[in-house]
Subunit: 116 residues, 2 copies
Protein backbone atom coordinates (compact mmCIF):
# COMPACT_ATOMS: atom_id res chain seq x y z
CA UNK A 1 0.00 0.00 0.00
CA UNK A 2 1.14 3.54 -0.67
CA UNK A 3 0.13 7.07 0.25
CA UNK A 4 -3.39 7.86 -0.96
CA UNK A 5 -5.63 10.90 -0.92
CA UNK A 6 -9.43 10.81 -0.76
CA UNK A 7 -12.23 13.29 -1.22
CA UNK A 8 -15.86 12.67 -0.39
CA UNK A 9 -16.69 11.89 -4.04
CA UNK A 10 -14.41 8.82 -3.75
CA UNK A 11 -16.78 7.23 -1.21
CA UNK A 12 -19.59 4.87 -2.21
CA UNK A 13 -22.24 5.52 0.43
CA UNK A 14 -24.38 2.81 1.95
CA UNK A 15 -27.05 3.12 4.60
CA UNK A 16 -25.67 2.64 8.08
CA UNK A 17 -26.19 -1.09 8.80
CA UNK A 18 -29.26 -2.09 10.78
CA UNK A 19 -30.70 1.42 10.60
CA UNK A 20 -33.47 3.01 8.58
CA UNK A 21 -32.34 6.59 9.22
CA UNK A 22 -30.86 8.82 6.52
CA UNK A 23 -27.34 8.07 7.72
CA UNK A 24 -24.79 6.76 5.24
CA UNK A 25 -21.20 5.53 5.47
CA UNK A 26 -18.71 5.19 2.64
CA UNK A 27 -15.40 3.45 3.32
CA UNK A 28 -12.39 4.56 1.28
CA UNK A 29 -9.89 2.28 3.07
CA UNK A 30 -10.90 -0.93 4.85
CA UNK A 31 -10.09 -4.63 5.37
CA UNK A 32 -9.73 -5.10 1.61
CA UNK A 33 -6.58 -2.94 1.62
CA UNK A 34 -4.59 -4.90 4.21
CA UNK A 35 -4.01 -2.15 6.79
CA UNK A 36 -5.25 -1.99 10.41
CA UNK A 37 -7.79 0.84 10.14
CA UNK A 38 -10.95 1.62 8.20
CA UNK A 39 -11.25 5.18 6.86
CA UNK A 40 -14.33 6.75 5.33
CA UNK A 41 -16.83 9.53 5.03
CA UNK A 42 -20.22 9.75 6.77
CA UNK A 43 -23.30 11.65 5.62
CA UNK A 44 -26.26 12.49 7.87
CA UNK A 45 -29.54 13.93 6.62
CA UNK A 46 -31.29 16.66 8.65
CA UNK A 47 -32.59 15.68 12.11
CA UNK A 48 -31.61 12.03 11.96
CA UNK A 49 -30.76 9.77 14.90
CA UNK A 50 -29.07 6.39 15.16
CA UNK A 51 -28.26 4.15 18.12
CA UNK A 52 -25.05 2.13 18.04
CA UNK A 53 -23.21 -0.24 20.36
CA UNK A 54 -19.65 0.47 19.27
CA UNK A 55 -17.89 -2.70 18.14
CA UNK A 56 -14.73 -0.67 17.35
CA UNK A 57 -12.91 2.48 18.46
CA UNK A 58 -14.39 5.20 16.26
CA UNK A 59 -12.89 8.66 15.69
CA UNK A 60 -15.15 11.11 13.87
CA UNK A 61 -14.06 14.46 12.46
CA UNK A 62 -17.00 16.74 11.67
CA UNK A 63 -16.50 18.39 8.27
CA UNK A 64 -19.91 20.09 7.83
CA UNK A 65 -22.96 20.61 10.03
CA UNK A 66 -23.24 19.49 13.64
CA UNK A 67 -23.64 16.17 15.47
CA UNK A 68 -24.66 15.45 19.04
CA UNK A 69 -23.39 12.21 20.56
CA UNK A 70 -24.97 10.96 23.78
CA UNK A 71 -24.32 8.07 26.12
CA UNK A 72 -25.97 7.38 29.48
CA UNK A 73 -23.20 9.49 31.06
CA UNK A 74 -22.28 12.28 28.67
CA UNK A 75 -23.55 14.39 25.77
CA UNK A 76 -21.24 16.26 23.39
CA UNK A 77 -21.98 18.38 20.32
CA UNK A 78 -19.36 18.90 17.61
CA UNK A 79 -19.21 21.19 14.60
CA UNK A 80 -16.80 21.66 11.70
CA UNK A 81 -13.18 20.94 12.57
CA UNK A 82 -14.04 19.21 15.83
CA UNK A 83 -13.35 15.58 16.75
CA UNK A 84 -15.52 13.08 18.64
CA UNK A 85 -13.80 9.98 20.02
CA UNK A 86 -16.11 7.03 20.69
CA UNK A 87 -14.37 4.10 22.44
CA UNK A 88 -15.24 0.48 21.73
CA UNK A 89 -18.05 -0.82 23.95
CA UNK A 90 -19.86 2.51 24.37
CA UNK A 91 -23.56 2.66 23.56
CA UNK A 92 -24.17 5.91 21.73
CA UNK A 93 -26.96 7.88 20.13
CA UNK A 94 -25.76 10.11 17.29
CA UNK A 95 -28.10 12.92 16.24
CA UNK A 96 -27.82 15.36 13.39
CA UNK A 97 -29.44 18.80 13.45
CA UNK A 98 -31.43 20.81 10.90
CA UNK A 99 -28.52 21.19 8.46
CA UNK A 100 -27.40 17.53 8.46
CA UNK A 101 -23.71 16.68 8.72
CA UNK A 102 -20.69 15.30 6.89
CA UNK A 103 -17.90 13.48 8.74
CA UNK A 104 -14.59 11.73 8.16
CA UNK A 105 -14.06 8.63 10.29
CA UNK A 106 -11.26 6.27 11.28
CA UNK A 107 -12.05 2.99 13.04
CA UNK A 108 -9.74 0.47 14.68
CA UNK A 109 -10.16 -2.36 14.02
CA UNK A 110 -12.29 -2.62 10.86
CA UNK A 111 -15.94 -1.93 11.68
CA UNK A 112 -17.32 -4.19 8.95
CA UNK A 113 -15.39 -7.16 10.34
CA UNK A 114 -16.26 -6.35 13.96
CA UNK A 115 -19.98 -6.29 13.11
CA UNK A 116 -19.61 -9.87 11.87
Amino acid sequence: MQVRKFRITDAVFERSPGQDAEVFAGNVIDQRHGGPVTIGFGRYGPDQSIDELLAVHDTMVVLEGRLTVSTSRVTVTAGPGEIVYMPQGEKVTIRSHEQGAVTAYVTYPHWQEAQG
Copy 2:
Protein backbone atom coordinates in the same frame (compact mmCIF):
# COMPACT_ATOMS: atom_id res chain seq x y z
CA MET B 1 -12.79 5.81 28.85
CA GLN B 2 -15.93 7.49 27.58
CA VAL B 3 -17.07 9.52 24.60
CA ARG B 4 -15.09 12.77 24.32
CA LYS B 5 -15.18 15.77 22.03
CA PHE B 6 -12.14 17.89 21.11
CA ARG B 7 -11.58 21.21 19.42
CA ILE B 8 -8.24 22.56 18.33
CA THR B 9 -7.95 24.70 21.44
CA ASP B 10 -7.80 21.48 23.50
CA ALA B 11 -4.45 20.54 21.90
CA VAL B 12 -1.11 21.49 23.42
CA PHE B 13 1.12 21.90 20.38
CA GLU B 14 4.75 20.81 20.28
CA ARG B 15 7.20 21.06 17.44
CA SER B 16 7.18 17.94 15.28
CA PRO B 17 9.97 15.74 16.75
CA GLY B 18 13.38 15.88 15.11
CA GLN B 19 12.35 18.82 12.89
CA ASP B 20 13.09 22.51 12.95
CA ALA B 21 10.22 23.46 10.63
CA GLU B 22 7.16 25.38 11.78
CA VAL B 23 5.16 22.17 12.06
CA PHE B 24 3.43 21.34 15.33
CA ALA B 25 1.44 18.38 16.65
CA GLY B 26 -0.90 18.33 19.62
CA ASN B 27 -2.27 15.00 20.82
CA VAL B 28 -5.68 15.00 22.48
CA ILE B 29 -5.87 11.20 22.94
CA ASP B 30 -2.77 9.00 23.18
CA GLN B 31 -1.07 6.18 25.07
CA ARG B 32 -1.92 7.86 28.38
CA HIS B 33 -5.62 7.16 27.82
CA GLY B 34 -5.41 3.39 27.36
CA GLY B 35 -6.93 3.07 23.87
CA PRO B 36 -5.26 1.81 20.67
CA VAL B 37 -5.05 5.08 18.68
CA THR B 38 -3.50 8.51 19.05
CA ILE B 39 -5.70 11.44 17.98
CA GLY B 40 -4.60 15.04 17.60
CA PHE B 41 -4.42 18.25 15.66
CA GLY B 42 -1.54 19.40 13.43
CA ARG B 43 -0.56 22.95 12.56
CA TYR B 44 1.72 23.90 9.64
CA GLY B 45 3.12 27.37 9.06
CA PRO B 46 3.28 28.76 5.48
CA ASP B 47 5.63 27.00 3.05
CA GLN B 48 7.03 24.47 5.51
CA SER B 49 8.38 21.02 4.68
CA ILE B 50 9.15 17.96 6.81
CA ASP B 51 10.52 14.52 5.96
CA GLU B 52 9.24 11.52 7.90
CA LEU B 53 9.74 7.77 7.86
CA LEU B 54 6.33 6.66 9.08
CA ALA B 55 6.60 4.50 12.19
CA VAL B 56 2.79 4.19 12.34
CA HIS B 57 -0.24 4.22 10.05
CA ASP B 58 -1.22 7.89 9.90
CA THR B 59 -4.56 9.25 8.67
CA MET B 60 -4.67 13.02 8.18
CA VAL B 61 -7.84 15.04 7.59
CA VAL B 62 -7.11 18.53 6.24
CA LEU B 63 -9.23 21.11 8.07
CA GLU B 64 -7.71 24.34 6.68
CA GLY B 65 -5.18 25.18 3.97
CA ARG B 66 -3.51 22.65 1.72
CA LEU B 67 -0.81 19.99 2.12
CA THR B 68 1.21 18.12 -0.50
CA VAL B 69 2.50 14.67 0.47
CA SER B 70 5.18 13.06 -1.70
CA THR B 71 6.93 9.72 -1.72
CA SER B 72 9.34 8.37 -4.31
CA ARG B 73 6.31 6.98 -6.15
CA VAL B 74 3.40 9.36 -5.69
CA THR B 75 2.48 12.97 -4.93
CA VAL B 76 -0.95 14.01 -3.62
CA THR B 77 -2.33 17.41 -2.61
CA ALA B 78 -5.25 17.70 -0.19
CA GLY B 79 -7.41 20.62 0.88
CA PRO B 80 -10.19 21.13 3.41
CA GLY B 81 -12.37 18.06 3.96
CA GLU B 82 -9.94 15.72 2.21
CA ILE B 83 -8.11 12.75 3.74
CA VAL B 84 -4.52 11.58 3.22
CA TYR B 85 -3.69 8.03 4.31
CA MET B 86 0.01 7.37 4.97
CA PRO B 87 0.79 3.69 5.66
CA GLN B 88 3.47 2.59 8.13
CA GLY B 89 6.91 2.28 6.51
CA GLU B 90 6.41 4.97 3.86
CA LYS B 91 9.01 7.74 3.60
CA VAL B 92 7.11 10.97 3.01
CA THR B 93 7.75 14.66 2.52
CA ILE B 94 4.86 16.82 3.73
CA ARG B 95 4.76 20.39 2.40
CA SER B 96 2.44 23.23 3.28
CA HIS B 97 1.65 26.07 0.89
CA GLU B 98 1.41 29.83 1.30
CA GLN B 99 -1.59 29.74 3.62
CA GLY B 100 -0.26 27.03 6.00
CA ALA B 101 -2.55 24.21 7.12
CA VAL B 102 -4.46 22.69 10.00
CA THR B 103 -5.12 18.95 10.23
CA ALA B 104 -6.75 16.34 12.44
CA TYR B 105 -4.83 13.06 12.67
CA VAL B 106 -5.38 9.50 13.89
CA THR B 107 -2.41 7.13 14.22
CA TYR B 108 -2.33 3.40 14.89
CA PRO B 109 -0.46 2.47 16.96
CA HIS B 110 0.63 5.42 19.13
CA TRP B 111 3.22 7.50 17.27
CA GLN B 112 5.02 8.66 20.40
CA GLU B 113 5.62 5.05 21.46
CA ALA B 114 6.61 3.92 17.96
CA GLN B 115 9.23 6.65 17.75
CA GLY B 116 10.80 5.15 20.87
